[in-house]
Symmetry: D2
Subunit: 437 residues, 4 copies
Amino acid sequence: MHIQTGTPIHHQMDLRKEQFLAVRATTDRLVKPLYTEDYVIQASEDVSPVKWHLGHTTWFFEAFMLVPHQEGYEWYEPKLDGLFNSYYITHGHPFEKKHRGWLSRPTVEQVKAYREHVEAHVLQLINEADEEKLQELEPILEVGIHHEQQHQELLLMDIKYNFSVNPLRPVYHPLDAATDRVVDEIHTVQPGQEWLFFEGGKTMMGWEEQGFAYDNEKPRHTVWLEDYSLAARPVTNGEYIAFMEDGGYQKGEYWLAAGWDTVQKMAWTHPLYWEQKQDGTWHSFTLSGMKPVHPDQPVCHISYYEADAFARWAGKRLPTEAEWEHAFRHHSQSGHFAELETYHPTSVYQKEKDGSYKAFGDVWEWTQSPYTPYPGNKPFDGVLGEYNAKFMCNAYVLRGGSCVTPQTHIRETYRNFFAPDKRWAFSGFRLAGDGKC
Amino acid sequence: MHIQTGTPIHHQMDLRKEQFLAVRATTDRLVKPLYTEDYVIQASEDVSPVKWHLGHTTWFFEAFMLVPHQEGYEWYEPKLDGLFNSYYITHGHPFEKKHRGWLSRPTVEQVKAYREHVEAHVLQLINEADEEKLQELEPILEVGIHHEQQHQELLLMDIKYNFSVNPLRPVYHPLDAATDRVVDEIHTVQPGQEWLFFEGGKTMMGWEEQGFAYDNEKPRHTVWLEDYSLAARPVTNGEYIAFMEDGGYQKGEYWLAAGWDTVQKMAWTHPLYWEQKQDGTWHSFTLSGMKPVHPDQPVCHISYYEADAFARWAGKRLPTEAEWEHAFRHHSQSGHFAELETYHPTSVYQKEKDGSYKAFGDVWEWTQSPYTPYPGNKPFDGVLGEYNAKFMCNAYVLRGGSCVTPQTHIRETYRNFFAPDKRWAFSGFRLAGDGKC
Amino acid sequence: MHIQTGTPIHHQMDLRKEQFLAVRATTDRLVKPLYTEDYVIQASEDVSPVKWHLGHTTWFFEAFMLVPHQEGYEWYEPKLDGLFNSYYITHGHPFEKKHRGWLSRPTVEQVKAYREHVEAHVLQLINEADEEKLQELEPILEVGIHHEQQHQELLLMDIKYNFSVNPLRPVYHPLDAATDRVVDEIHTVQPGQEWLFFEGGKTMMGWEEQGFAYDNEKPRHTVWLEDYSLAARPVTNGEYIAFMEDGGYQKGEYWLAAGWDTVQKMAWTHPLYWEQKQDGTWHSFTLSGMKPVHPDQPVCHISYYEADAFARWAGKRLPTEAEWEHAFRHHSQSGHFAELETYHPTSVYQKEKDGSYKAFGDVWEWTQSPYTPYPGNKPFDGVLGEYNAKFMCNAYVLRGGSCVTPQTHIRETYRNFFAPDKRWAFSGFRLAGDGKC
Amino acid sequence: MHIQTGTPIHHQMDLRKEQFLAVRATTDRLVKPLYTEDYVIQASEDVSPVKWHLGHTTWFFEAFMLVPHQEGYEWYEPKLDGLFNSYYITHGHPFEKKHRGWLSRPTVEQVKAYREHVEAHVLQLINEADEEKLQELEPILEVGIHHEQQHQELLLMDIKYNFSVNPLRPVYHPLDAATDRVVDEIHTVQPGQEWLFFEGGKTMMGWEEQGFAYDNEKPRHTVWLEDYSLAARPVTNGEYIAFMEDGGYQKGEYWLAAGWDTVQKMAWTHPLYWEQKQDGTWHSFTLSGMKPVHPDQPVCHISYYEADAFARWAGKRLPTEAEWEHAFRHHSQSGHFAELETYHPTSVYQKEKDGSYKAFGDVWEWTQSPYTPYPGNKPFDGVLGEYNAKFMCNAYVLRGGSCVTPQTHIRETYRNFFAPDKRWAFSGFRLAGDGKC
């Protein structure tokens, strides 16, 4: 999706405009199956109402593109500034996150009108801009597009969580029987675990290519790795059930102290969204309703604590993010992403052309690396400096994207992150080991 | 609204049917100004979403009338039983109250379809019932009607609270300029405080008339009163502001220990919904938007703690509920109720025909009486025994009804009640004193 | 213990001095079995460290007697004023109650020196006072004595609670085998439940006798009672176990809504201090260590919620405080009090000379009466107005005294009170019913 | 303190015994100034009572040395096992940490008897051991000695915290006027900030020397550093006050999101223990009472969040632990440690013989490195595997030791760690920058 150096700016901007319209259309498509009521609710402090996401991704363009760069532009409605500002305190006073679900107004229709208004003004601004202005606008438009893609994933995560607490078990995305069967047929052969070995030494990580990357992926810098091995594929539901059946959630010795506290306090005994039927079989709430837990699918909706405990139980460890990036830097970033509209991880056994398993897509993979700035890292300029930098604390990095990530959003250097007790992301993990496993 | 003894049951039921249809129509009218989104939200654990009220008042007829009394009737949707059961644990497992705002489904349209379905079946059941069946149904229908009236008041309370937390300040009920002016003109003369004196002695309280009353108003029983005085009217905003300006919220000596803890913890410095403008004037959020606080209107949205602290500051006390009932038993229960569609207290100076001020309507009045069972009290039979009895703990009685109470719902023996820290009811108070004041 | 009218003030004061010295000596005796460490701890927000009680009961005399009434007296140590002020906010700024256990200083020895200092000055002040001064001092000294007696009961309650959380199960008061046997032998015959019937009508309650009473017991005033019955004795452990075995703690229908919330949240399944052995027998932590639960002893360490739930289960109710006072006004207030140094309820079958069971002593008895002011009640003057009045909210009255109450402290009009979820008082209950049972 | 390779085991053990006795004597000396009451209290969930530290450091030898390695040894008192087990869940069931202050028993005297008993048995066990047994015992004894040293620092931290909440401001360690003056005179010249430059490249970190180190310091491994600069000394109180006066605690832009939440929630406006006098000067609670804040002393009792915010405000950053270790690996680990018995940081301007400032001692220095395992790290075997590994989550590493750290306890590879909101350690920080500053 990136643009060659030397492309004239107005050609670049033609492409950006296309991307902008495509991204906006995707967002519209994602919310189509929802009733008005579904846009309003917020069933935990982690998630946001759908209409908030719609407003916020629009506000992003208004606050960072229109207001500062379009002469004479006035806020569509000044009070929306606080309501749709997520966390930019150098910009203003965000409405308290945990109470976003308290707000019935603006209505969905009003938010959509807001979207249209801002969209139209963005296009107008671009169309009327001279070369100099275009130079100024291009990087903002680009980050705004990536920002909206991030929220597309959050939309799917949050809809799933919000629906999951409802005893009526709403279905967001009905799968027809045919699709269900196809998904099942993928899982025909379950090979044993295979290991990939990588030689250590001096290597580079982080972004230095052309094209967009977040500030947190830069600069490209030197790291030293010891020899290591990575599992050829993520841990499956079947393997995870073995951990559960071996008393994994009852034995403190596998757990970080903070993880064990969480297990006790939250009474965790299985991954998020799982339920055990009376016959002992496990089912999971999905965006297509309750589905049997398939043993060959990667385990998903797992916290860092659970991933780490499983690894200790298995006598292994989680990879570092440097190891992960080094191992899969040259994999294609095709795979099972949101565009397939499955919204549930499928098989751990999808392969690259060269016969290796796909590393990208399906589930995000926890690494053992706390989310910290790279050496020499510089946050974005201005208000956008708050985009990533201030969250570099008490979180762990995940790599590779998932079945709800837009494919064009992912990169081999992409750093996702969550606090170690969060489970509503489509998060799994693969094992790692020192030297040759 | 009550029916003469001796009226044949099918005539009684004709009247009940009329009342039933009228009450349902009133509920429909009350929610008319709302957008779909407004039905979903729940901005505190005390309030419920509008669509929950619509569902619950319907469930009441389904659970207590159709299911047990209509042969062959099947639940409209069994999962709604838990969702719309408020707190009847002898009936089933209510969904947790504080999370009612997490549920986008059933949608508003689905809830309305549920209402129509149950309404139609109620009418059908009545129409097809023989005399014996009608005898059985009549008291259930009657309590269901009163129950829905209670929820009409809650609807208005909850809409107000839910709207109040939104910085957009939504307006539920726009007042035209004319109405505003009329409301203002009411307040022309502010007489000084007047006192009404009552002789004590043996007297009776509680309900024994024909017609409906809740179980908590019975039996009529003897109480002994000392001589006492009641203020002729409730405390006004102007008087309350004097308390505030005298440091009422800063001086612990006026407060119950539990009240003082609440003041500190909640950082209360004024009634709920009030805001002070930069020029020092007070304004209040109302169902018609922000309005200036009128000094002659009764103070409203006051907790028991605040009413009690004001009374101590004033060197007086609150009335007991026996005193209140004894004093105003023979007042007409006309006055400022929900039917006027003002939804905000107006004047403390409205008078009865005999020249005395109206006691009923405008604001509920806190009494100093904890909410306890009357001697010899018997709760309703069966599941409905949970209606009132189990809440007789850590609450205080309020009397008289308010501008959001349906007029046909109130009685001289009517006992409303709230925990002493609650303020979202339309609650004010009048002063009392021992002997002659 | 009260003094005849007309007794010259210096004779009155001689008696008060004696009482003062006796009460102080009793406090000293009560803390004798403790190690220094035992004086420091505070195992819940409800209890206070022993050394705090010693300091506070001394501060009471310093703050209310010496400082205002002895010319030239200076605070022993001004910083102790805040530390030992319990809750008198019109006097100063009390140190936060829940953190009293954070303070190692003043040490026990320092607190004892403080006690001696204040005691000596109190005696000196009295000895040097003229008649007029004595008139002024006498009521303060009297209330100070009663105040310290209240804290003697709290001392025993708090020591018991503080010891109970320690896995080493410390023993405060070892019982020799002989005493243990005697306690057992008391319980030889268990008669069935007997009922006492009382005719209703106009009656008086509250204090008007000579001698001391708290402000909350006044004025004596008229109340109207309906005919009622009281159980001849409190509910026993055996009867309470029957309730437990019938699923009392699992069936919401017996409980007040607030009680049921508490049962769930606290996971209550039995009275405070009880433990079930593997053989199914119940034992209870006592001030003499773990002891078997005797079926004929009154159930103790019961919350209002549990008492009320038991009563509903039994098809009865709790008495009102007016009924209790009316029924037992003329009973002797002898019985099982702290002077016997058993510190555990013994038998429900102790009898008055006239053959009736003793009503006073052994366990406090919950009534169904919220703790409210009597009609015409006036709190103590000045700072002591905070003694009782501000706690008249969300609490219920208990009557009759217990095995840890000083006998000379109790009166037929004495009103003890606790919030309905508290269990560390020696609290039980008896059943009541309307009319003849 | 470490022992040459090849030393016969019984010679090694002679040295260990000496160290053991010395460490135990030091603990005894540290608690000498305390009253019995001071041993009992626990003023926050982070700290422990002094008597718990005495018991726990003894239990460590009993549980890990006597019980498994002395034939026929029986627990001194089995119930103490749970009480004095800190967090070893593979060993047993630790008593809940936050309630350690609820326990008056065992008394201080009983804990001291327990200490003596275990000490005697440890010595006896060593004295009677053959060569093979000695080989087995030596590493356990060694870790037990280091463990007790860690608790000596905790003792001083916890005593300080426990005393700080007491309005009587207890003094643990009175300083005479002479000492106070000396401490003052140290601070004569305040040079400007100086920077030390270090070239990056491939380097090694972690422990591989002879002698003891914790498992978390191993293995020695390769890291890659970019060129960097470190401030020659920690940030001073004077510099920190400049940050405060510039509104540092009011401007969210300097803070990590989690830090800003903490600032708001805890209402932080200055370092822990500081108080501002009416004349605007700052004073700090110390183990020698309230003392003026000296502008040239290193700022202390600072959370990671505050250190990080200061660094952003100053346009710099915190060092990584690799940078810190690389920079100061060859500094002498002499300096201002607990042995000086000052228990308060003195000057930032103490120098090495070569003219550079001392890096070790005075205050622990926060690094920006989350506390994670080194590549290839292996926890201690068995139960002691819980010593460090399970805490490697949501904490940051501090380096260099402080004025309450035993000097013989520190190493250039020593990794201390705390959660980023903790402030009761003697924690300060120095600035770092990329390249040359």
